[in-house]
């Protein structure tokens, strides 16, 4: 019943596309925890390569960690919303008001997410130059890959 729009698939493919090459170097015998640690270390190393000043790099890494926490909350919110929408879709007796209430609830969650994500983005902008920003587009935050993939049907 639930489906994701095609544009999302394209965007996520773009986001994950950068993973392919780096992913090949992953050691297959790492535990998920070790892999996660290695991913975070690789991402931090990329930030430090891009931003040579340790203080600024530290700030950006902290912001990245903050975004990861926000993204995790967001995933939970989207999952919950989709599950509730799927339940309504299956319910013959669901009313328009049921949907309106769910939409309103999700609108509130969306506004909160956008406000926080925009604030984080503004802070990232403040800590980077144009060229660093361009370079950071290539940096991967692998911890979010699986979560983003989960949003696809």
């Amino acid at each position: 019943m639930i489906c994701s729009p095609p544009w999302l698939a394209g965007l996520i493919a773009l986001a994950l596309g950068l993973a392919t090459t780096a992913g090949c170097s992953s050691k297959p015998d790492l535990t998920p925890e070790q892999q996660a640690q290695a991913d975070v270390a690789a991402y931090e190393a990329q930030i430090r390569r891009t931003i040579p000043e340790p203080a600024r790099a530290d700030q950006l890494i902290a912001l990245t960690n903050e975004f990861q926490r926000l993204a995790t909350e967001s995933i939970a919110s989207v999952r919950g919303y989709r599950a509730k929408a799927a339940a309504l879709n299956s319910n013959y007796d669901a009313t328009r008001q049921d949907y309106e209430a769910l939409f309103t609830q999700q609108d509130v969650a969306r506004e909160a997410f956008i406000r926080k994500a925009s604030a984080l983005r503004e802070r990232m902008v403040a800590f980077t130059s144009d060229s660093e920003w361009e370079e950071l587009k290539k940096a991967r935050l692998r911890a979010l890959d699986a979560d983003l993939e989960e949003l696809l049907p």
């Binding site: 986001a15 989207v78 919303y81 949907y99 994500a117 940096a139």
Partner: protein
């Protein structure tokens, strides 16, 4: 990736309602053919599903344009938040308008189907831990 991830998460939130009320329409049409015995109601139901497909298609087309515009805005480092919000407004508005139309059609579809037929067409989701729907 981080910047792409921020963009992806924003876009997921900017268009959350329409997909959530869009059934897998081809499958729905197939199940209507199979499970709705009464010819008149079957035809009515199939017509409604066709209308839903048209709404979903038009929405997807419009959305692509708005997403392109928003992506362009998000790609620039110096874009102020107010510009991002402005670029996102059409996405939010289009999503809500499409969701409203799809809901209208959803309730029209309900009006021509019995509870038992509805259950066959839209079985209760067996959600796994990730909240993704599994089809029976």
């Amino acid at each position: 990736m981080l910047i792409a991830a921020i963009t992806a998460f924003l876009l997921i939130h900017f268009g959350s309602h329409s997909p959530s009320v869009t059934p897998q329409l081809d499958q729905t049409a197939m199940l209507i053919q199979k499970d709705v015995a009464d010819e008149a109601r079957r035809k009515q139901a199939l017509t409604i599903v066709e209308q839903m497909k048209a709404v979903a298609k038009a929405y997807a087309k419009q959305r692509e344009k708005s997403v392109d515009a928003l992506n362009g805005v998000l790609a620039k480092r110096t874009t102020p938040t107010s510009d991002i919000e402005r670029a996102a407004q059409p996405l939010v508005a289009d999503d809500r308008a499409a969701a409203d139309k799809l809901l209208d059609l959803r309730f029209q579809l309900r009006s021509v189907l019995t509870p038992d037929e509805w259950k066959m067409l839209f079985p209760a989701p067996a959600a796994d831990a990730s909240g993704k729907r599994k089809h029976a």
